[in-house]
């Protein structure tokens, strides 16, 4: 029932210069690795990217940065790669920093038809500048607005042919909300299964949010390998 792409190039071929895209993941966990690689190859420019982080020097969104494809970045913690700082200082890259909970809620709101909501995060900080402050039961909150995307590129562990998705462990993170907030949502999955193979009670993202899926082999690079010290 959904578009099942055979190549990553084909999966992103409708993306145009200037698009707003959301890219799932927290650090390098749960990022759509191969869709990002295809984006680099496509050379689409002037992107606005909504993603919690911005990759590292040679992987994830860091590759888009290196290739000067991003004009504007909306995230909560960025700058884990050298190109980032350089491009911000030169004015090439605009950055909007958003508290992580506000970012995830703004994306949820975008997919859920909620244009705005109030949150305590950021009250009394530089983030509050220019924002409406409103008191509910004696406590101050900021008005925050919804975020949507032209394309959401997400990653899941398993996807069926109806587009129903399941994520692995902490690779879920921003992916479900981004799936819902995208005008077009493409899911890179580790495995495409026949419809009916996923228990309807344990679907993380119902297929209605997904436009196309593609199976991809993941490298799953580890940013900070920490193991038990051996005795």
């Amino acid at each position: 029932m959904k578009e099942i792409y055979q190549t990553f190039t084909e999966a992103i071929e409708k993306m145009e210069d200037g698009a707003t895209i959301m890219v799932g993941g927290f650090g390098l966990v749960g990022i759509p690795e191969n869709l990002i690689l295809a984006l680099v190859e496509s050379n689409v420019k002037h992107l606005t990217v909504v993603s919690n982080n911005c990759g590292v020097d040679d992987w994830g969104l860091g590759l888009l940065l290196k290739n000067h494809q991003i004009d504007r970045m909306i995230g909560s913690y960025v700058g884990e790669n050298k190109a980032f700082e350089r491009q911000v200082l030169s004015g090439e890259l605009k950055v909007e920093l958003v508290p992580q909970g506000t970012l995830s809620e703004r994306i949820r709101a975008g997919g859920a038809g909620i244009p705005g909501f109030y949150t305590p995060a950021g009250v009394g900080t530089p983030l509050a500048e220019g924002k409406e402050i409103r008191s509910f039961e004696g406590k101050d909150y900021l008005l925050e607005t919804a975020l949507k995307s032209d394309f959401s590129l997400i990653r899941a562990a398993i996807g069926d042919k109806h587009g129903n998705l399941q994520y692995a462990k902490t690779a879920q993170n921003f992916n479900p909300m981004m799936a819902a907030a995208g005008k077009v949502t493409i899911a890179e999955v580790e495995q495409v299964v026949e419809t009916g193979r996923i228990d309807p009670a344990y679907i993380h993202t119902p297929g209605i949010y997904v436009d196309g899926i593609i199976e991809g082999k993941q490298e799953k690079r580890i940013e900070r390998l920490t193991v038990q010290q051996e005795d």
């Binding site: 927290f26 966990v29 909970g101 900080t125 993170n173 992916n175 909300m177």
Partner: protein, 225 residues
């Protein structure tokens, strides 16, 4: 001000061990990235504590053995971890709903400055590259109790506990308690109240190294940790 020399590592360990005593058995706790994460190493075996990680995990376990490493299982500091029996995974929206909704009993976070009214600054230094606030601005408004752990003074010997913060804030009126290498100080409506001094520090030394009026609790414990 007297110059005392302490081993940096043992100082951080001392803070972490003292911070562990804030954790009540049966509670849900978020430990910030960096030094706060290390508090987990000292949680006493008889305490039942569930650690939340804002990237979508309730029930952080120990670090994995080499053969257990799963690249899809990390904590908010992006370190590979395991999950305890009874853990739950969820999305970032659910994770911060849990945080903002005041379901966590305690958060232990790092700090750059804390003010008399409980303001916290811990995310940016003007003029330096800003990497972002991550989840800190949400967490300070979420957990029922916010404990800040930090060195008492900056690297340059300046107080970090101040009448007013000089750095841009992470949150206003959010801190409940500060634990440093020198003292445990509560933020109350009457200002800072010294509750404990650390071994090697007198009340006067703590007062001198604090940039705001410091009341002394009637229940003060000296050389408490």
């Amino acid at each position: 001000m007297m110059l005392k020399q302490f081993d940096k590592v043992s100082t951080r360990e001392k803070i972490a061990i003292r911070a562990e005593r804030e954790i009540v058995s049966g509670s849900y706790v978020n430990l910030g990235i960096g030094m706060p994460t290390k508090v987990a190493n000292y949680i006493q075996a008889d305490k039942k504590v569930i650690l939340q990680s804002e990237n979508g995990l309730l029930g952080i376990g120990r670090f994995p053995d080499k053969h257990e490493v799963d690249p899809d299982l990390i904590n908010a500091g992006k370190e590979t971890v395991t999950a305890v029996t009874g853990a739950a995974y969820f999305s970032s929206a659910e994770s911060f709903a849990m945080i903002r909704g005041e379901h966590l009993d305690l958060a232990i976070l790092g700090g750059m400055e804390v003010s008399e009214s409980g303001d916290l600054a811990n995310w940016m230094i003007p003029g330096k590259m800003i990497k972002g606030m991550g989840g800190a601005m949400d967490i300070v408004h979420g957990a029922k109790k916010i404990v800040i752990i930090m060195d008492h003074l900056t690297r340059h010997g300046e107080p970090k506990i101040l009448k007013e913060c000089q750095l841009p804030l992470t949150g206003k009126n959010v801190v409940d308690r500060i634990i440093t290498d020198r003292a445990v100080i509560d933020v109350t409506k009457d200002g800072f109240v010294l509750q404990e001094t650390a071994q090697g520090w007198t009340i006067d030394e703590v007062k001198e190294s604090t940039g705001a009026k410091l009341h002394v609790s009637k229940q003060l414990i000296e050389e408490a940790f």
